[in-house]
């Protein structure tokens, strides 16, 4: 078995995060853990997860193939994901993707012959105010026109580690997968790296510049009470004495798309 005792120990830690009898919830983090060891979800990785959770390999495989971030082939050290969704796409992301694809000689979800760089296009990365964006091992590089992206990739090829625009200094994809499995980033100071970008702060800065704040805010405004407060010394979490009628007949509206109302 390729999985070390350390990996098994980590797997136990992951499983322990979820309630008794609900171990299956650990499957996504376990698959990230597998990628932290192997760089992709290998057949042994599937077996490893199945074994940890008492599932069949087919059950694990069905889940692994559903999610974009689980890779089915070995990946490079650097996963370069270029957003080509509409906003980034029209602002230059489409050209960025094509320039990188041409330069690296690989297409979507392919890795360069030296095994260093995997290229993919990505869907909206929730950073449209910095469009066009790309990520390297999921860390953001903002406003990446084709030329900027080519420079960046050449730096990676030369063994440099350019610093992301927001977020922490780069680590390898395997190292990142360990964080995705829910483990803390142990690198000294990494949590603090990456100031908020200007676009993030644009509204708050404008308000500050014009001295705007919301009037009438009194943090001591009393909360009106109909119920008696729970006894502080009551031993944990039992439901308080007075509770409303269960709203079993309550029918929330059919969930609508992010847009809302049906």
């Amino acid at each position: 078995m390729p999985f070390s005792e350390q990996a098994r120990e980590r797997a136990r830690e992951i499983i322990a995060r979820y309630p008794e009898g609900r171990q299956r919830s650990a499957l996504l983090p376990l698959l990230h853990l597998v990628q932290s060891e192997q760089g992709y979800v290998s057949p042994e990785g599937i077996e490893f997860c199945a074994e940890q959770l008492g599932l069949t390999k087919a059950e694990v495989g069905a889940v692994a193939t559903f999610y974009t971030m689980y890779k089915r082939k070995p990946t490079g050290d650097w996963l370069v994901s270029v957003c080509t969704n509409t906003m980034c796409g029209v602002l230059g992301g489409e050209r960025t993707y094509q320039a990188l694809s041409e330069y690296l000689g690989v297409g979507h979800d392919e890795t360069t012959a030296d095994g260093k760089i995997t290229l993919e296009h990505a869907e909206c990365l929730a950073a449209c105010d910095y469009a066009p964006v790309l990520t390297v091992n999921y860390e953001f590089f903002d406003k990446m026109q084709a030329e900027d992206a080519l420079t960046l990739v050449k730096q990676l090829q030369a063994g440099e580690r350019p610093h992301p625009t927001r977020g922490a200094r780069l680590c390898t994809l395997k190292e990142m997968s360990l964080q995705l499995a829910g483990f803390a980033d142990e690198r000294d100071g990494a949590v603090g790296e990456g100031p908020a970008g200007e676009a993030t702060l644009a509204g708050a800065r404008l308000a500050e510049r014009y001295g705007i704040s919301v009037a009438g805010f009194d943090p001591d405004t009393p909360i009106s009470r109909k119920e008696t407060p729970p006894q502080p010394e009551s031993p944990g979490n039992v439901a308080p004495p007075t509770t409303p009628k269960p709203a079993v007949d309550a029918k929330p509206a059919r969930d609508t798309h992010p847009g809302g109302v049906a």
């Binding site: 999610y67 502080p232 509770t243 809302g260 109302v261």
Partner: protein, 439 residues
Amino acid sequence: MVTAPSQEALAKLTPVLTKRWLSPDAWRLDVYERLDGYRALRKALSVHPDDLIQLVKDSGLRGRGGAGFPTGMKWGFIPQNDGKPHYLVVNADEGEPGTCKDLPLMMADPHSLIEGVIIASYAIRCNRAFIYIRGEAVHAARRLRNAVAEAYRAGYLGRNILGSGFDLDIVVHSGAGAYICGEETALLDSLEGFRGQPRLRPPFPATHGLYSCPTVVNNVETIATVPYIVLGGAQWFRSMGTEKSPGPKIYSISGRVNNPGQYECSLGITLRQLIELAGGMQPGHELKFWTPGGSSTPMLTAEHMDAPLDFEGMAGVGTMLGTTAVQVFSQQDDVVYATYRWIKFYHHESCGKCTPCREGNYWMEQILHRILAGKGTHEDLDTLLDACDNLLGRSFCALGDGATSPVTSSIKYFKQDYLDYIEGRKAPTMSPAELVGAH
């Protein structure tokens, strides 16, 4: 040229959730505490949980994840004394194209979310909360995990929080790249370790959610708003926004404006005012089309610049407020291409569970591509609208409904742009070789 905003537009700014973002180290517990952090929690723990639910009902807070469901009512649906564990699941899967507010919030001010989670959990009597964060969002997840660890060390999480007798554990759970997992029931399946596919409703998560137990699913911004309501009160909260859509809201404006970014404003601000706040349109760009709340909300035009960006105002012009992801496009942008690219997205992200969405998006993508490649016909437009008819209201979940938005709204407002391709007035902009994306 960046233009100065008018007084009217400036008056719409409501720095509440975003104010602390200006303090670069607010992600650290000690800084957060200096800036009023965990003050709302102490106050909340001193009252009965039902009083908190009532407070949130009184505030009129509506969900910030897109659908605008009243938050206090959602909390009130959780049955009490039912002997089952209750769960709070925070939806941090931010993936609706255009939306970019939740990740910066968790990056700049993660403790405000955690404080909101603790208060909400106390209110619904939940002892275990999950934050399901989009996998790709590693920068925000790193801050969030760190903040959770800090909160445990300081006694804000764990057993007997601040001596109240209340216990809470929070697990930060990273997804793995699937837009559909933002849909709340797909999210629950994913969190249980399955493929992220939506569930049949009823039963609703309020009674049969995570592990078949009563569950509240709320968006990041919704939960992060709660501490401010606890501090300032319902009346103060209602001093912002409109009667039916009260409070401040983080608008994400992107595209052809001078200063794209996050602008927290009174609900009901107009696009005209938002664009002013964002420094005006970029030189040489004139507004052509825009989305009020992500790609799943029907697009609007320059005619709609004065419609209030709140739930009612957007319904009034045939669209939806969605996630307030305002994407601004100009006459230099191709609305047919934009629609094509969004449909490619929906096709890629369709979970495949139901036929109208799985097949409909596949075919719509092919047809839009054909039009862009100069091979479209007049019938193609009818076929697109037919496909939308078969999708809207017939799909298993709202992803399918959302996919019809860009298609029907672009044909409604910009049919001429389609006809220009179809009738050869506009040169093809794509060839099959240029296909990237869906696979």
